[in-house]
């Protein structure tokens, strides 16, 4: 077992969390006032048709049987059929997942890396103009509603300056005219830039502010003072003594903020019409496509939990004080 034991345990914990979350969702929908099928069933339908639909969703069964069916369907990824697309939800989602992953992963990695680097620099230059300026600016962008920021970016860079496309992920015209793979990649990247900036800015500022605080704290630790007294170069003291230790709590905080940034992802996808899970969730909700909405939510939750596990495991390898057996 050895080193595999920790990741394994984390995956089991994650599965339990997923199970709990989806159970809450199940109860939520059953406990909520109103018929969960009211959006599917047209009042004008005959009682027989209503009963048929009811039966097809298993709603005529006792609660625990419904729960069993619900869980079985979730774990076999049998998420029902989308009304809008008239095809299985899992197929609709399968096409959307890569788009969301592309946007979300690149934004997360970018904001983590940039935030840690900049936070380290401003903490090191404590009480300088640079620190005050970046802290205040960081705070402003951190507290800015992400969709509003996105709208302003669209206004400035897409509408006014016409540098980037206003929405979407690809240029249909270009793709139907038979573009080369290279052109297609460049096209996607071109579409990606604005949503990426939108999504990155808020969480990047959060990371930077956290890193600053954490680093300021760590710089008071004896081992940092000792490293300075040893006459090690500033860069070494900053990077491998102060920053290396300051990163650890920032990673934990990053985990805690993940579910909030997924929310930001939904908003970003919506304003840029980025064809990902979040946009689909919004569309499904507006169009009352209940199975699709639930499927989107399931995938988003699964993604959050997976991300938490991955970062948690990374953390365990970064901090030698965490032992594996």
């Amino acid at each position: 077992m050895g080193r595999l034991r920790y990741p394994l345990r984390r995956i089991i914990e994650g599965l339990i969390t997923l199970f709990i979350v989806m159970t809450i969702i199940f109860l939520l929908f059953r406990v909520m006032p109103g018929d969960p099928l009211s959006i599917v069933i047209d009042p004008k339908m005959t009682p027989e048709v209503k009963e048929m639909i009811r039966h097809s969703y298993g709603l005529d069964q006792p609660m625990f049987v419904q729960y069993g069916i619900y869980l079985k369907n979730l774990f076999t990824l049998n998420l029902g059929e989308s009304f809008r697309y008239s095809q299985p939800v899992s197929e609709v989602l399968a096409a959307r997942i890569p788009n969301t992953l592309l946007l979300f992963t690149s934004a997360s990695v970018l904001s983590a890396v940039l935030g840690i680097i900049l936070g380290r620099i401003i903490a090191w230059r404590r009480n300088s103009k640079l620190e005050y300026g970046l802290t205040l600016a960081g705070l402003f962008f951190y507290e800015m509603p992400i969709f509003w920021f996105g709208l302003i970016l669209i206004y400035l860079f897409a509408f006014r300056l016409n540098l980037f496309p206003i929405s979407g992920m690809i240029d249909f015209e270009l793709w139907t005219l038979g573009a080369t793979t290279g052109e297609k990649i460049i096209d996607i990247l071109h579409h990606l830039i604005l949503p990426l900036i939108t999504l990155t800015t808020a969480s990047f500022c959060g990371m930077m502010l956290l890193m600053r605080t954490s680093m300021v704290e760590t710089m008071k630790e004896d081992y940092v003072e000792a490293a300075k007294a040893r006459g090690l170069p500033d860069k070494v003291v900053r990077d491998s003594y102060a920053a290396r230790n300051a990163e650890l709590p920032v990673i934990t905080a990053f985990i805690l903020s993940l579910s909030a940034s997924i929310g930001g992802g939904v908003l970003t996808e919506k304003i840029f019409s980025w064809p990902g899970i979040g946009y689909e969730l919004y569309q499904a909700t507006i169009g009352r496509d209940y199975p699709l909405a639930q499927g989107c939510f399931f995938i988003l939750t699964l993604m959050t939990i997976l991300a938490v596990i991955v970062i948690d495991i990374t953390y365990a390898y970064l901090d030698p004080r965490v032992s594996y057996d």
Binding site: A226, R230, R244
Partner: protein, 333 residues
């Protein structure tokens, strides 16, 4: 006293900590002493008397609010910045002092337990300092590390461990190894054995003594424990409230100490040998350094205080050969 060459000379150094509201703490208030080559000078005093700030002043590793007001510190170093012989440390730039740190003077820290980076292997941290300071290859550093391990009695294999896997005594040894790693001329040991058990403390002290004898190291040994200091040092300096009250040869300290504070300290030490005697502490509390009492700083606690003690500061002067003290009562006989 035979004319031994001095390696470090501290001359009337004053160091303050600035506090908010324009106030300041006079942590080091005009102290002078010297360290001879291959010898150990011990500084003893209670917490807050400024003894650790002396170390910070010499190496210039004070916190941001520490401010050197006056005085000179001369250190005998090879050539640096075009100067040689006794170099005035305060005249050096930050870059130049950076070269003195660990090459000329290294330090064993108070709270050594926390002076190791928790996320890096102990051996790597020692190798790192050697490679930066001496510009040697990895292999050479590794070899030197093994030699160091033998000196401080650590199994070289353990050097691949992280600090949290070490016991207190082991960490202390690692920190000593680190201080020795670049062959410094002077080592400042600031309370190197506090927080250790007596048996471990004894073992570490024996090792320090051995190393000092073998490498002919000059050392400043700082501690609150009078008996520990008097065991290891050649000269003992007693500090009280930012000032030196007495300094003498270690042999004469126990029998010939004259300052009432030193005598009080001696009588406060519980002893395991000889007569059980009566413990007698010093009444009262050490003064706050931000508003020390007028006159002799010890007078509020001194059983022999006379009128002048409350008014004027006593002069620090030679009582006998190599025996200095600052006390009105004693100097007046």
């Amino acid at each position: 006293m035979n004319a031994k060459t001095k390696i470090l000379e501290v001359n009337g150094v004053v160091m303050h900590y600035r506090l908010s509201g324009g106030r300041s703490v006079r942590a080091v208030d005009g102290i002078s002493f010297s360290v001879e080559e291959g010898r150990t000078t011990g500084i003893v005093g209670e917490s807050g008397c400024g003894k650790s700030s002396v170390a910070g002043t010499i190496l210039r590793t004070l916190p941001d609010n520490g401010e050197i007001k006056s005085g000179k510190i001369y250190f005998k170093h090879g050539e640096i910045a075009g100067k040689s012989g006794m170099i005035d440390l305060f005249s050096l730039s930050e870059e130049e002092i950076q070269k003195i740190r660990w090459k000329g003077i290294s330090m064993i820290f108070q709270g050594a337990m926390n002076s190791l980076n928790p996320v890096r292997r102990v051996g790597d941290q020692i190798i790192e300092i050697m490679r930066y300071k001496d510009k040697i290859s990895k292999e050479e550093a590794q070899k030197r590390l093994e030699r160091l391990c033998n000196i401080v009695h650590i199994d070289p294999k353990r050097m691949r461990s992280y600090p949290h896997q070490f016991s207190g005594g082991m960490k202390q040894r690692a920190v000593i190894a680190m201080a020795l790693s670049t062959d410094p001329k002077l080592i400042i040991a600031d309370e190197p054995t506090t927080a250790l058990d007596l048996i471990t403390q004894d073992r570490i002290m024996e090792e320090i003594k051995e190393i000092q004898k073998e490498l002919k190291m000059s050392m400043i040994f700082i501690s609150h424990d009078l008996s520990l200091v008097s065991e290891i040092s050649d000269r003992v300096i007693v500090m009280y409230a930012g000032k030196i009250v007495e300094s003498c040869d270690k042999r004469s300290l126990f029998r010939e100490a004259v300052h009432p504070y030193t005598r009080g300290l001696i009588n406060s030490c519980p002893r395991i040998r000889g007569d059980k005697g009566k413990l007698s502490g010093i009444p009262g509390e050490p003064p706050s350094l931000s508003s020390p009492p007028k006159g002799c700083r010890f007078h509020p606690r001194c059983p022999y205080a006379i009128a002048i003690c409350r008014e004027e500061e006593p002069e620090y002067k030679e009582m006998g050969e190599g025996h200095f003290s600052a006390c009105w009562v004693v100097s007046d006989g």
